[in-house]
Each structure stands twice: as C-alpha cells, then as structure tokens.
Symmetry: C2
C-alpha cells in the first residue's frame, strides 16, 4: 500500500518529511506563493508551493512528499515534491471547493460520482453510515440477530399497489416492498431480528420524500406486552443512532431523544382516517412547543388504515396497537404490535375479503406457535434528510432511483 | 415487556422463583415424572412437572414460572406454573428436538418458518450474522465507509447474461448483479467503502452452489500498489470473520487463517482459460497438504476471462492483477486491482468491441481523477456453507431463491 499519512494525522509529524496522497481539492496561484489543497478521506491539507510552479488541476490524484510545518491554525506541508498519479480529463461540472454547492439538484444527481466528492454532499452519506452503525450496535447489544431476506417475492400481496414486476425464469414475480413477512417469520426462529436492506416502491408520484428504492432499517421482536414495548425499543435505537453520529461525524447539530418520547392518540388528533402531511407538520410543531421534542408518537391508528396483520387495541374497538413516529414534521417510522394467533390471521384476511392461500408460507409461522410480537421500520433516507435539513430525500442517498431517474 | 429470565442466565438465580418464556421444544411424559423442555433464543431449559399433567404440545408458546433448582449438568425449573400464550394448530413437519434433522432439503425449505427453529438449521444463520459482524468490524476499524447502492440498474452491461429484467415505470431495467460499478465510483468519494447487500443472478443451472439472490460482502479501496494490497486486506477480513464467529457462536470448528495465505499463479496451474470445479478442489487439497491452509489464492487470471475493468499485470502480458480465493475446494472470492485511468477504460472497451455510451455514468468517476484501487466480493452463503460443511448453499440462507423456488 502507498505509505502515506492522512491529513487528519499530520499534526503528529511536526518537522518530519512525510508523504500524503489524495485529490487536488483546489489550487491557488498567488503572486508570491501558490497553494495546493489536497483532499483525502480524513480531510484537507494545505501544501505550500513556490510561485509560478505548474500545479495539477483540481481532481488530479497526487502524492505529495513534504515537510510538516506548523502554521496558523494547524499544519501545512512545505518544500513539496508532487507526483501526479492520475489526471482528470475534464473539469468538474461545478467547483468542489466552494463552501456551498453551486449547482442544482439535477446537476448534482447527473454527476453523482464527482459531485459527491464535495464535502457538503458527502456528509449526508457519512451520517447515514454512522446512523446504521448505531442502529446495529444498539440491537446487537440487546440480543438481536441480523437477517437477510428475499427481495424477490411470489405475490404482490402485502400492500398490493406500487410493486415492481419482474420476469423470474418465465414466471411473474415482484420486488419486495418490505421484509415485513420475513422478519415476522424469523421471530419464530430468533425472537429478535433486524435487517438493513433495500426495499422497492414503484411510487408513481414525483415528490421530495419518496424514492423507488430506499434503505429500510427493520426490527421485529417477540415476547412483548403490546406496542409500548416496541415504542420503547425504537426510542433506544434512535438514541443509539444519534450517539453514533455524534461520535463519528463531529459537528452535526443533533436532536435530543427524550427519555420518553411524547405520544398522542390518533383519536385525539382527527376524525379522519389518516393524517395529511400538513397535520404531521402541525403535530410536530405542537410536540416541540409543548414537550420540547423533535419526536412524537401518534398511536392507535384506525384498524381500517393499517395492514391486516396489525393487532387491534383490545380496549378501543376500531383502533389499533399501531403507531407512527413523526420526526420534525415527517412520518419517519411505522410500527406496532402484530397479530400472533393463526386463527386471528385467518379471521383478519376473511374480514378483508382476501383468500389465505397467497399467504401460505407466511401463515405457517403462526400455525406453529408465535409469541406476541411487534416491530417497526425506519426509512434511512428520511432520517438523514431530517437530520441534515435536506429539502429533498434525494440529497441523502448516493444514486437515487425515482420515476424519472435510473442512472447513474 | 414480559419480565423473564433467559435460559442461558438461569444459573444465576439458584433457589429463586423466576419466569421463563419460549417454545415447547419437547415434552416427555414418563411414568413417575414429566419434562417440558422450553426453548428460547439463548438455549433450552428443562421444566420438571408432576406425572400425569396435561402438557402443551411442541411449539406451543409458554410462560413458565418455577423454582431454579440445581440438577445434574446445570439447573432446571421445578414446581412450575405453566401458562400457554399461543398454541400451534398442527404438528411440525418433522421433530424439531431430534439432534439430527429427520427431513430432506425440500421439506426443510418448504417449511422454513418452522424448520429453521431446529437448532442445527438455525446455526448457519447465526454463523452468517456473526461473520458479517466481523467483516464490518474489521473494515470500520480501517476507516472504511458503508454504502448502499442501487439494486435496479439501467443496463445489463456488467456481465451481460443471467440478469433479471423488470418493468421500471414502463422502461426496461435490470436487477444489479453486483455493486461493482457503484463501489468503484464511491472510491472517488470515500477512498474506502464496503457494502453488504443482495445481488441477483438469473442463474439457469440448478446446482448446489448457485442462488438467484445471495448476499455479497463487497469491498473497494483506493491508493493500493496493486492486487497484493487487496489480498492482504481480504486476509484481514477473513480473520475478523472467523474471530467473530468464534466469539458469538461457540463450538463451531473454525479454520485457521494463515498470516500469509498461500498463493499460486494461474499460469503454473493450467494452460486452459479457466479453472474447472475439479481443479479448484485439487488445488485446495494441494494447499492443505503443502501449506496446511484451507485457503489458497490463485493470482494472475488471464485477461481474456476477466471483466474489462480488470487491471493487467504490467510484467506479464495476457495475465491480470485479478485473483480468486479458494476455500476448501470452492471459489469463495473474486477480486483484484482495477483500471483507474479514463483512457485505459476507453481502450479496454474498444478492444472488446463495446461502445462506451452505456457506461457513461460509471466512466465519469475516472474522467475526474481516480487513484489505483481494487477490491473483492465474498459470497456470504458460500462462506457459511464451507464453514459448516453444508453440502448445499441453500442450507445457509433462510429463504433461498433459485430456478424453481420463489416461496416462502
């Protein structure tokens, strides 16, 4: 491996000759001196060059050997020897070194392989990675097992609409919209499972908060009393995610996750069957004002609006043990307690006029004994968008897929 | 949450009344006493019941309150009060309590939600999860960033054959056969990236080692000298995976990962263009005999058999800086150094008579300056199959997808 020192570690090498390697982030040629700013995965280094030197253009890959010299605000490299490893064949579509991004979203997305090198565009992906690490660490510490479930499924049963169809060796098949059925089945095996993986929605609307593929952080676990245990676990996961971002991506303003996230019952909110985006925003404002919380649980969604596997609220006919979590005005998580008795599944399907046959594999789990259980799914891109204040969820994933976009 | 003690923790509660919860693994009614074996995620507990008691059938979900009593070989619960939470509606397709699995592979796969509750069938999935945790921990410790890349792609370009086609909002699209292009692009952003995710192959052959969906452990990183740096990193990952299994799934016989994995050049092995499965087995036997190693690198694969992005061996025309890793007779990993100069990509595509246009997004990364880089992909199911000695890769994933199987 090229023997090199990272930018972030240079301060430990004061006075020594070292080699760094990275991309030319910026060259600045002044009258009396020139600067080459080199970017590596850890940060930036200023290289001080004699005036008039012919400096490689931005995004060239270079190795620089130089002397680590203390300067105002840190260290820089002086007396450099610069070797160009690889040269760009054209200039980037916009300047990657400007503090704010001088480009529109379509330009950024069309040029993702180079645009994401801009530190401000890269940061949401770092936050995503740190969040997922915190999610996993929280669950690993609680005895959960990671699973990998099929993304190609036989029937478009779970939510019906908005599925991608594909040709599976001459048979019709569909891309999974969620690992819901599989994670429930695996509760019978491991009690506590999670999955981080892609889910697919043939979302026909072009909005700032929908993607055709997104990363779902899925949890399901058994031996719960009811949905409140699920909400308590979700709170732990969110706290772990925030803490992981705090440790791994310094300088990001982060929300506080209250010890107990405030909660409001659906019936107290509206007489309608669902919440509108405007209502979600208003409720979030209320939670912030009244409880100082960026998070709000809305519990007890009407059974009529929840999937057939939702557990009803035993105390309140028509309402469910299902919840949503709002985060800064947006639905971030859907979760709840599920049915666990085989007979309840058959009755729920019959009540909806659905045959049981397409669900045969899924229903097996319940035919052989299942504990009370529940779970939730966090949309990773929405989470990151809300954390970073990104107006569009497309800014939080490297290569978004939507109604119009299938490349790069 | 139901307040319960796990089987594995009972020994800390000697003499106390506690509650456990889980599945009835087995009931044994003898003349003078009855036993109920309860299974939870941590293990098994024997509950001693009065003779003649009517015990719930296998796979019932139960809560048992009892006194933790020392017995031969550990603790058991005595003076139990048993509450049935949920009852099976039929008997499992085979006895889950027998030490060896009394069922054929098709029976197991058809009944996966219940079959995987058998400890011997569950264990490969535990080994998978532990392996992935070790893979991530190794890379996190080396400054790698986790990425999530598109599984729906615009062109079937990378390897051409065996892709699944789908209808993407009225346009043709394909399921990604690997994150190869995306992980390379992300080297320009993060230098060091990995992804754990599903990949899809419309594999028309019904073999014991191919799946239509499998989990790929992908790595790519920049600033390498050549493929030997990639091989050294792969060795670290394998060691981390083995160590993680050792810690998390006790009792699994594990291979030693040599400090330096032995290596043989393709040209020393055969005059053919590829290795047959029989040759892979022979080479592995040789490595075990001569070097005491379960692992063997085969380096320098002919350029003609490697994808266009493969870096040639500068010292040996016709051969590449690409390698495979054989593990106990099977190809487990493919990796190598990649081209990094834009002009080299254009030349490589032209030499193969391929237009550059379908690769436009991918080639952007190289147009803007890329370091020498390389990477590899480990097939998770093959790894687990080789570790466990499973004859069929279908035994190492919960819900396999193949030519004939699309459910459960």
């Amino acid at each position: 491996m090229i023997s090199r020192v990272l930018s972030a570690d240079l301060h430990g090498y004061g006075g020594q000759r070292v080699q760094i390697a990275g991309w030319v982030h910026r060259r600045r040629q002044l009258k009396s001196v020139s600067f080459l700013i080199v970017r590596d995965r850890s940060g930036l280094t200023q290289v001080v060059c004699p005036p008039g030197d012919d400096l490689p253009p931005e995004e060239s890959v270079v190795e620089v050997t130089g002397t680590v010299t203390w300067a105002e605000g840190g260290v820089e490299l002086t007396e450099p020897q610069i070797t160009v490893i690889s040269e760009p064949v054209k200039a980037p579509p916009f300047d990657l070194y400007r503090p704010t991004v001088p480009a529109t979203l379509p330009t950024i997305l069309d040029h993702a392989p180079v645009a994401l090198r801009h530190p401000a565009l890269r940061q949401p992906l770092e936050i995503s990675a740190a969040s997922v690490a915190g999610f996993r660490a929280t669950l690993d510490g609680l005895g959960f097992t990671e699973v990998h479930t099929p993304k190609i499924v036989e029937s478009a049963t779970e939510s019906g609409a908005n599925v991608f169809a594909l040709d599976y060796f001459g048979r019709p098949a569909y891309l999974a919209q969620s690992p819901q059925f599989y994670k429930q089945m695996m509760v019978g095996v491991f009690e506590r499972v999670y999955e981080v993986g892609p889910v697919f929605r043939a979302e026909p609307h072009d909005t700032a908060r929908h993607l055709a593929q997104y990363t779902s952080l899925d949890v399901e676990f058994g031996f719960v009393e009811d949905h409140r245990d699920v909400m308590a676990l979700l709170r732990e996961c969110l706290a772990g995610m925030v803490e992981s971002v705090r440790l791994r991506v310094p300088g990001v303003p982060l929300p506080e996750v209250p010890q107990e996230i405030p909660s409001i019952h659906f019936a107290e909110v509206t007489g309608e069957q669902d919440l509108s985006p405007a209502q979600e925003r208003e409720l979030s404002e209320w939670a912030l004002r009244e409880h100082g919380s960026d998070f709000l649980f809305v519990t007890g969604y009407p059974m009529a609006k929840r999937p057939f596997y939702t557990h009803p609220d035993p105390a309140r006919p028509g309402y469910s043990n299902g919840f949503d979590l709002l985060f800064r005005g947006l639905e971030l998580v859907t979760g709840g307690q599920r049915l666990h008795r085989h007979a309840d599944y058959l009755a729920a399907l019959e009540a909806r006029g659905e045959p049981a046959e397409p669900y045969e594999g899924y229903l097996q789990a319940f035919a052989y004994g299942m504990p009370p259980h529940g779970g939730f799914a966090i949309g990773l891109e929405r989470w990151t968008a809300r954390l970073t204040g990104a107006a569009n969820v497309r800014q939080t994933t490297a290569f978004p897929r939507d109604l119009h976009r299938l490349s790069p």
